[in-house]
Symmetry: C2
């Protein structure tokens, strides 16, 4: 029964992971773009954040988390985390038997399409910025591009605290972004899946001359193209669903994300990542 087994293949969930809850911005974009797809989301909240950790450690964590997604029968893996995309995508692509989509290349493509002056700003976690992954992706698409990158380690905790609109948040944003504006960027890549939750504040502060490029939306577009290319789109009649699992019980930020993204998260499961001293 080739048709039925093909349909069964197509009905398998899209596996999405992030270091924590931030990747739900990608889920929100996927749900809007692909409402008939089922999504299994796994946030590694027991070890969040990845952004200040070493590449070796982030690679190890990413492989462990991807393994759980495969146990959930994921038809494709989406790395909804800029840090993991920046330092672990190659390792994941080599190790995982399904296709893997990160957030860096889709974001870089959108930025290159958006820029008029060829001067692009990139913000992200320390690990993402230190990896140089955005610079490499941007220059691979357009060798003459000028990139100004800056790590903004306070933005994630600020978002997780739920201070999405406040005077202090505005000041921290300008402390980080002021120098990029002064250097003349005309496009800014929000290189962390948390950052779309600050999109309104950043847009208001930077004004309409600077185009914001959002990893989440562009990653969702890339996943859609991939599913079509691989003949893995769920049947149109399929009722899409969202299952969220975390490696540690949720705290305050799940509420923040749920409200800001207006996402129907339902009951959150736990998946333990066990560890032992050597």
């Amino acid at each position: 029964m080739p048709v039925n087994s093909e349909t069964a293949e197509q009905r398998r969930p899209i596996g999405v992971f992030d270091s924590g809850i931030g990747g739900l911005t990608v889920v929100s974009a996927l749900r809007a773009l692909l409402p008939n797809e089922s999504i299994f989301y796994l946030g590694d909240t027991a070890r969040v954040p990845y952004g200040g950790k070493s590449a070796t450690t982030v690679q190890r964590y990413s492989l462990e988390i991807a393994k759980i997604l495969l146990q959930e029968n994921a038809k494709t893996v989406v790395v909804a985390c800029n840090t993991a995309s920046a330092v672990a995508l190659t390792r994941l692509t080599e190790s995982v038997p399904v296709s893997v989509t990160g957030v860096i290349l889709p974001g870089a493509q959108a930025a290159v399409a958006a820029t008029r002056t060829g001067h692009i700003g990139v913000i992200g976690t320390r690990a993402t910025i230190n990896s140089g992954a955005y610079e490499r992706a941007l220059r691979s698409l357009e060798s003459q591009i000028v990139v100004t990158a800056r790590a903004c380690p306070l933005l994630v905790p600020l978002i997780e605290e739920g201070w999405l609109e406040s005077k202090i948040t505005d000041e921290i944003i300008m402390q980080y972004l002021g120098p990029l504006v002064d250097e003349g960027i005309d496009t800014l890549v929000l290189g962390c899946t948390h950052y779309p939750l600050l999109r309104n504040a950043i847009a208001r502060l930077l004004g309409s001359d600077i185009t914001l490029v959002d990893s989440a939306q562009n990653c969702a577009n890339a996943v859609r193209e991939l599913l079509i290319r691989e003949n893995l789109r769920a049947p149109e009649a399929n009722a899409g669903s969202l299952q969220v699992a975390l490696t540690d019980p949720p705290d305050n930020f799940l509420r923040v994300a749920r409200e800001a993204l207006q996402l129907e998260v339902g009951e959150v499961q736990l998946r333990e990542v066990t560890s032992h001293a050597p």
Copy 2:
């Protein structure tokens, strides 16, 4: 040779751990108070921070880290982390064959000694504050005490970013502490081992009417008393040393802490905490 073996016992290092680098404030206080003691410090930077994670997960991590300290022949274990002290001290005390000192009880004792009005403020991570550990410790010492506690999740990342003296830092401190001042506290427990690095800024903003109680200093005093009580003080002629190990290579914050604490950290070792998906 009872004398020699006793000396060998006493020469064993004090094992100190924290979720990351913040516990070096305790090390700094121990080094000043007990210069002839050797210290082995282990920061769980591969899984930092503990402050937003569940009690179960923090207990599991704490037991794993304490096990490594015992492998380093620690004569006593110091939990230089308020979160781990708040939620894992009982489990550690039951499981570890040497004495265990946390930061909560010493801090609470100092606060009760300092307060004149009996109204004490406590700040810490979300996990520490949610645990109610300070309230319990304070009330066990003085049942009539009034406690106002507040989680301040942004202070740790702010300190790790190195913004120890800035207008933004002042504003965030007052956003968190303003309500505690309004409620009339006369003593404030800095219930996170990172916070002594903000002591100057907090003291300047709160003024001299509010006494600051520092976990680090009081924990060091408690360790000194414990070592005397257990006849484990290193011989006076012993040249104390400090060995720092982390579970993930150090980033920016080690530099911040080293500079702010003027601590001779030397070469940092790595101790891997391996994990595997179930």
